[in-house]
Each structure stands twice: as C-alpha cells, then as structure tokens.
Symmetry: C2
Amino acid sequence: MNTEEILSLPVALPDGVDYDDYLIATYLASFAAVWPIPVLAEALAIEQSTGTWVAVPGETPEVRCQHVAKVIGVYEAPDYEFEVPQSLETRNWIIQVAYPEVNIGEQLPMLLTTVVGNISMGGNIKLLDVRFPKKFVAGFKGPKFGIAGIRKLLKIPKRPLLNNMIKPCTGYTLEVGAELFRKAALGGCDIIKDDELIADASFNSIKGRVKRYMEIEKQVYEETGEHTLYTVNITDKIPKVFQNAKRAVELGCNALMINYLAVGLPVMQALAEDPKINVPILAHMDVAGALYMSPLHGVSSHLVLGKLPRLAGADVVVIPAPYGKAPVIPDKFRNVAKNLTFPLYHLKPTFPMPSGGITPSMVTQVITDLGTDIVIGSGGGIHAHPQGPIAGGKAFRQAIDAVMQGIPLEEYAKDHAELDIALKEWSDPFGKGVAAR
Amino acid sequence: MNTEEILSLPVALPDGVDYDDYLIATYLASFAAVWPIPVLAEALAIEQSTGTWVAVPGETPEVRCQHVAKVIGVYEAPDYEFEVPQSLETRNWIIQVAYPEVNIGEQLPMLLTTVVGNISMGGNIKLLDVRFPKKFVAGFKGPKFGIAGIRKLLKIPKRPLLNNMIKPCTGYTLEVGAELFRKAALGGCDIIKDDELIADASFNSIKGRVKRYMEIEKQVYEETGEHTLYTVNITDKIPKVFQNAKRAVELGCNALMINYLAVGLPVMQALAEDPKINVPILAHMDVAGALYMSPLHGVSSHLVLGKLPRLAGADVVVIPAPYGKAPVIPDKFRNVAKNLTFPLYHLKPTFPMPSGGITPSMVTQVITDLGTDIVIGSGGGIHAHPQGPIAGGKAFRQAIDAVMQGIPLEEYAKDHAELDIALKEWSDPFGKGVAAR
C-alpha cells in the first residue's frame, strides 16, 4: 500500500462501536489556512498508533484494524459551509481521535506518550481533553482518602477546610517554622503545608520538621480539640522521594505533600497506591503553567491540574485561584475543580485547593464559585495578619463560619475582631474587585 | 517590614560574588506595556525563594541574605532609552535571576519547582536557560556511556551511527517485529529502537522482544561482524518501569529506551545512576513539545531536549530534525545538539539523535549541521525502501560512508544501488529543499 491508499482507508469510528475500547482525545489545531486539516488529522491518528509518514510492510490490514487510532470528528470553528473567507490566515479546528485502549494499557506514561507525545511537536496543537473508558480507569486506584476520607480524619463533615502554607517559602530554620506551625494550628488551620520551595533542605530537614511539628500538633489538639494535618513536602529525586515518604510516615506524619509535576505523575501514583503510605497526599501544582498556559500548545489546565492528578491518586490538588496573584480565567478555574470532583467511575473525588494570594475577603466568592467541598489555601493571608498568624487563621475560620451561616462577612465582622481587621487590611489587595460580601 | 521596604532591599548580585553558589535562570517576559517589569522581576525573585506577595514575620534579614533569589539583569528588547513608543502594546524583557544553590540541593525536582514552578503560571513567561554551578552538577553522574562509551561498545570510532525505529509503531506481533529487527540489523543499523508507542504491551511483551531480538542480534553478528544495540522501551508506571529495566538487562538486552518526559526525568536519572543498569539509555523526546513549543510559555527546547536529559544521564536523546515531518527552526535544532555535547563540568557528552522523516538524501545536511558525533534516526526511511529494510539500512550506511569520504551522494550512488534507489524515491519528500549533495 502507498500513502494514498493508507490514507483512504476508513478510519472513522462507526456508530455503535464499543467505546470502552477507546480513549477519546480532543485537540485544538490552529493552522495556516492552506493546510488540509481533515486529511492531516487522519495522518496524525495513524502516526500516533500504527503508522508513519510512509507505508511500511509491517502495517498490515490486521494491525490497522485493531490498533490504528481513528479520527471521529473534525470540526472547524467557525464552521464555514459555503465559502472560506479569502482573507483568512489561520483556521481553527477541533479534532477528536479515538485511541485503542489496548495500545496504551492502564498507565499514565504510555497515556502521555500516546495522546501528547510527538503530536506536541507538530505545530499549533493543544490537547483539550481526554475521555477515559472504564477499562482504562479500572487500572487506577485514585485517591486513597479523597474528600470524604479527609473529612472523616479531621471530623469536619461540611465546611470548607482551611490550609496554611508556611511562609517564608524557604531559607528558614526549624524553630522559625515550628513557631509558624504552632500559630497557624492555634489559629484553626485544618491542614498546614510546607511551601513547594522547601523539601528535605540541608538547613531544614524533613525529619526535623515532622518530629517537631507533630509534637506541636498534639499539643495544639490538647488545647483546641482540633486536629491538624501536616503535609510535609517529600519532593526529591528517586529513590529518595520514596524514602522521604516512608520515613515521614514512620515518624508519625499524618499527611504528605508532593510537587507532582516536578517529580512526575508516576511517582505520586506509586505513593498513592502503596498501602504503607496510609496518609492523604496533597499535590502541589508548580510547573503546571509550562504545560497549560499557552492557548495553542501543551495540555489544558483541567487535565494537568484535574483529571491527571486525580487518576494518580491526589487527595488534594493545589490550583491557582483567579482572585489573587495568578492570572486565571474564572471559567477555567471552575472547570479544573469540576474535573477533580465529578463522577469518574470508581475514583473518589479530590479536594480542589484554590490558592495564591487568597485573603478572608475572598471566602464568599470562592465558596460561591466552587461550593463547600474545598480546601482554602492561604500563606501570606494568614501569616501577615496585622495581629499575627493566630489571628490570621481565626479571621479565615470566621469568614468560613459566616458564609456557612449565610451571614455577610461585613456583618459577621462586627463582633469578630480578627475578621474585621483582615477585611480592612485586605479589602481588595489585587484590585480584582473581589470584596467582602 | 512592609512590601515597599522589602522590595527596596538590594537584590542585585554584586560583581565578585561566588557564582558557584548560584544557578542563573534566564526568562522571557512578554507583558502589556503598562506593567513595571523591573519592579515585578524583583517580586518574582522573592516569590520564588523566601517571600510572598506580602511581608511575613519569618522573612528576616538573615533569611533574605542567604536565601533570597536575586535579579541580576533586566533587559528590554528593543532597549528603549529615551522614549517608549506610545503605540506599544507589548514589551519584551529578558530577566536573569540568580537562585541560591542551597535552596535547591542537587536534584531535578526541586530545580524544576524553583526555576519553572509557580512562575510558569504568572503570565507570558518562558524559561530560556539555566546556567548550573559546579556544586550543583557535582550531584549528578550524567551519562554512564555517552558518545565515547557507545562508540567503544560498538567499536565505531568516528562515523555517525545509524538507528532504526521499528515501524509500524505499535500493534504488531513479536514475529513481525523480529523480522523487521533482523532486516534492519542485516542492513547495518547500529542501534535498533522500539517506537515510543510500544512498551510492555499485552500483545507484545518486553520479555518476548528482548529474548528474540537478542538471539537475532547474535546471529546477525556472526554473519556481518557488526554488533547492534537493541534499545527496548521500558516506559511504564512505577515500580514497573524499574522492574522492566532490571529484567531486560538480566535477559541480556544491551541497551534501554525510555520515554523520559512521560515517566519523568527522575526515573531516568535513577536508572542511569544505578550500577546494575550497565547498558546505555536512549531517551525519547515525546511530550517535549508540550513544554517548549510556545514562544511565550514553558521551557526552551535546548533545556527540555538538551541539558536536562543530559543531567539525568541519557546516553542518546532523540531530537526532532528540521528536514523531515516536524516543524523545527534549524538554529534551535543545532542549539539542542550543542547543549547535549558541549563541555559541562564532568558530564560526558550525550549523542544527539536527529529524527523524524529522515531519508538518505538528508545525510549530508545533517552531518553538515551537527558533525559526525550523532546517531541518525530513521524509521520509515529504512523500512519503506523499495527493496525492503535491508536495502534501506544499506542505503543509509552508504550515504554515511560517502559523506565520511567527502564524496557527493549522487556520485557515490552510481555504484551503490541501494543508495541510488533511495535518493530517487525520496529526493525531497517533505518539500523542504533538503536534497542529496
């Protein structure tokens, strides 16, 4: 067979086929108007499964029948019907390709190789979505705790959880960190995490932090009756990342944190599926923008921050919030959270943790946007409270309580001094119009 | 201290400082003309080291002194001096930030978290380069074999090596693959690799391929006196990827292949630094475009395909070539190869393996561009030779011999039939003007 003959083979997936045998990937292709995208889409599907740019002897009809990827949709936006404007320089296409599940198996690396892979170098092409069949997802355990499991650990059935990230980000000693931990815990933070910029540092070790912080956790619990999860950042090379995790759990740490894209999704999955790692995993988002920020390349945010870390077993995923310092389109933000929580076969829902410059004044808005099954992440918004971190934590808890009781923050602040001060200090710190309501 | 006071602290790195204490990262920032980038650059440097968007109590002068990242250069392109044109909508800046090495340690995950990390979500910001101090690189073993080591294994001191990737990419049986392997080896391919789309598949296992292909390798060696490295694709989830590697080596495989970005750089580093994995590692580039293709986001190609896999110990890295099916700017291509081979402390040079639609007609050009210390990768250009894969391999070897002897391909083809046929079949298959010379 020559190239023309191969391209002329029917590659469309007939209606009535067993969709459980396929993963459906959706791409944006933005190309110069001269390119014949509907034909090239089929070439792409062949290239990412059985074939290459030229017919080769081993690519028999039998091989193609079972293993070729199939173009099941090519849609132009806008959808020109009677004439393509001559002035058009670029045409935008949405392409859907069905990949045989058997080509990939139930694993993330070969998934990425197949649906992102060499396609990522083919021009202006962005992966917008992947729909996973049951057979594929069956190979993943997903979050060990998820939203319900973490709520059960903390005995907090309904309200949003409060997370504090210790600031400064790095460079501080154990004793400085311990004081910040104590204050954040006393202030009512349900989860306290390391910043992503500190892990097992020469000047501040994981072992030191776990031992000291967990002692403080017990002391604070005696005082307040509230538990705090400490997510220690175990990010490291292999095998040290696994040793860090094991040692942290042995030392009594009640949660872990990992920079999941910096170490790779397979590392997080291995931890999440290890029965000895019997604590929740908080997944930090750093590096994600390198994959999703371009409108024309890479992989959409709801995959990078949503479906993929959920498949890999994250119990909490930190996501950039549109209220603070990160530039984020609110619809994209909500879509990430949705992908962490919607029904996905047997996988438990993962907690979205909006983060990045969040202050108590934004609590109403974040709950309006995402609901109450969230972890609200704040670093500076707690530690830099004018009355200190304990008051900073209390201000957030008061804001959460107000929203849960349906009371406007300004109203609730009248007899809650910490919240009152926070609202006045940061009514709209980033000028984005997110104010107390 | 308030934000203004913190921002007013001197963060520039004074001349005469010990550069071995810092990693120098270079960024492109492309922002709306209204943004005060020189001030924001310092905020970024603080955010990625000790601080956050607001001053926090733990960020003492001592912490800042030792751990804050320092902006050491902010350059606008063009470099406006007396007036910024009012019509300007976007301004482009090159920013250099020195990160204290002690913040990161000698590991890739915390490197990525620090230099890409949350910055990647900050707008139109792309990481263009990282210069590594000796202290950092000292923590890496780099390639175990490198160019010289692989040349020694194969007893080929000077000429470019020839690699064949078995096509079809996936979906074929062991026996189909074995025949293609045999023919490619008989044709003179020095390295034969799996396609990135097949690893330990349910229909074609690693164990089966290694046993069968290595038997054939021995038979072909008896016949031709030339050895062939078989790089079996061990890509998989953790810990299976490590089990795959160990088993492949135990079964006698003489090389490994890994989709290094799909599994994550730390996996490849762990394999490369494991003394039991005493064979070369070929690193496949798939997924790379998701990181480097955007001109405004992500990470430049010479890091993704060059310095980073070299640090992580790749002996060969597959890179997209500008002659074939991938869109690549030739200068970028040459820069990737340069970053794989230039002096980098104690790290051995890594073989660049240009690939993607290469045919014998392009051999002169690829050697002109990159020199002779390369692996030339061809899949379809060997298997689809009109006289079959053995002739396909021979045509490439003849083209390599011709260039090594300084004889134009057309001339050499006069008494080398396989080359002659290949040149006629594919004089310029992608219309890029790369012809036989």
